[in-house]
Symmetry: none
């Protein structure tokens, strides 16, 4: 059962030749606006020639381009009149993807429900007031999150370091850490002993620890000044770090806002360095 043109496209996109597939992808990515423009504009956006666009709409079963556009407009009209229909969209019926998405969305709502604006603001402030250095580290699967956060923070403020590589390498960097510094740790099940040991030592040196973990709380929580507990359960063989990822992005945004004045200047300086 195919109701919308978008479905029709994604249904047949597998059987299309390369050029027409590009047209399809361009249309889907910016649906349905690209289809409302002229053939020339459409073809330019997709990086193919006009005839390819026409062959594309012909393959979808339309007699000519205007007919195709009319269909898109009718669809759009129906959408605009009943905004409610958008939320209850047909793709949510069964399928393998929806459970995953639904669970992830739930995880985020739950995660943020237990997280007050105040907490986030406190953590952001701590990250923004740069009395000392900021270190970030993650576990086996969460190291990318640490990297992601470090990549952003390092742009708006100095002295941001991501600890990577072998354990011995970052263990030695403990010597540089003191009570003015902050350590951001990502650790979810199965909790890594090496990280726990590292956190404990850092804690003893007076380092303030901000912990991203799952709802069962890594043992590191004992040493942490701030704990962010994200939901991780999804219908998959793996746990999901998506909720923690969003919290990280939220914090990055908050820190950036707080450092607006200083950060903006720094970003300009960085620009000029390129």
């Amino acid at each position: 059962m195919i109701s919308s043109i978008a479905e029709l496209i994604s249904d047949r996109i597998g059987t299309m030749p390369a050029g027409e597939r590009r047209a399809a992808q361009t249309l889907i990515a910016n649906y349905p606006l690209t289809g409302l423009k002229t053939v020339a504009e459409f073809s330019a956006a997709a990086g193919v020639s006009s005839p390819t666009i026409l062959r594309f709409v012909a393959r979808l079963g339309f007699q000519n381009y205007p007919e195709f556009q009319s269909a898109l407009q009718d669809e759009l009209a129906a959408q605009l009149q009943s905004p409610a229909s958008r939320t209850l969209n047909p793709s949510s019926a069964g399928g393998a993807v929806s459970p995953m998405l639904e669970a992830t969305l739930d995880n985020m709502r739950e995660t943020f429900r237990h997280l007050t604006d105040r907490q986030l603001a406190d953590i952001a402030t701590r990250l923004a007031e740069r009395r000392g250095k900021t270190f970030l580290i993650g576990g086996r699967f969460t190291d990318p999150l640490a990297r992601y956060m470090a990549a952003h923070l390092a742009i708006i403020q100095p002295d941001v370091y991501h600890l990577a590589g072998q354990e011995s390498i970052w263990r030695d960097r403990l010597i540089d850490m003191g009570k003015r510094d902050v350590l951001v740790i990502f650790d979810i099940r199965r909790y890594q002993e090496s990280l726990v040991r590292f956190a404990e030592k850092a804690h003893h040196r007076g380092v303030q620890i901000i912990l991203f973990t799952d709802q069962w709380l890594s043992p590191i929580a004992r040493f942490a000044r701030h704990v962010i507990a994200g939901r991780t359960a999804v219908p998959s063989a793996w746990d999901s770090s998506a909720a923690l990822f969003v919290v990280a992005e939220t914090l990055i945004a908050a820190v950036t806002r707080q450092l607006e004045a200083a950060g903006a200047k720094r970003m300009r300086d960085l620009e000029s360095l390129r």
Copy 2:
């Protein structure tokens, strides 16, 4: 302050002659669709002649009819991109975090709305059938996503490589790539030239490219076999990669499911190695 064309119209509708007023009312009645049709159709719908329509848009300050249509399309594009703004729900309490979370949730829903089970299944199948090697690479801020995906895929199947470090390093690895291989690229604004070059060369070697990008599509889309366009707009100084992150997790789950038999054995073997 006049922001939308609809406002502009209702602002000046009082000063218009009868015919043009009818045009205005017809347009407002089912805004903005009538304005996207041809002058002839517009005039027929309003019950006036074509020149009247043209005088109408001229009075609104547009040089010609196409310019008027472009403006309408831009407006529509803005609306469609942020579904949140349309629902305009003040229900969710203010605070600094909610807008960020709401936007992120919207982005995910919107991203998956343009992504069918079929497409995801196709991509997962391609990643699961290991005829050749799998390479993953990301840009400045998206490299962590590539890492995250690589960390998981490498566990359930062999020959998964994350390309990191300097450009020269991964450029040299092109020599190992052939038409049996898959290259997963993450590239969002501002698109990195080095990645585009790399993708082009890989494409010429027959490598199948799976691209994670934003809704404006990286130029790499031209070479890609599969394109995943995620929404990235959030109320922050930075773009959000959260939607792409969730797609990545979804794919990881799907691939794992497909490789269940073979993958489970491999995971057991890995366990025993520790």
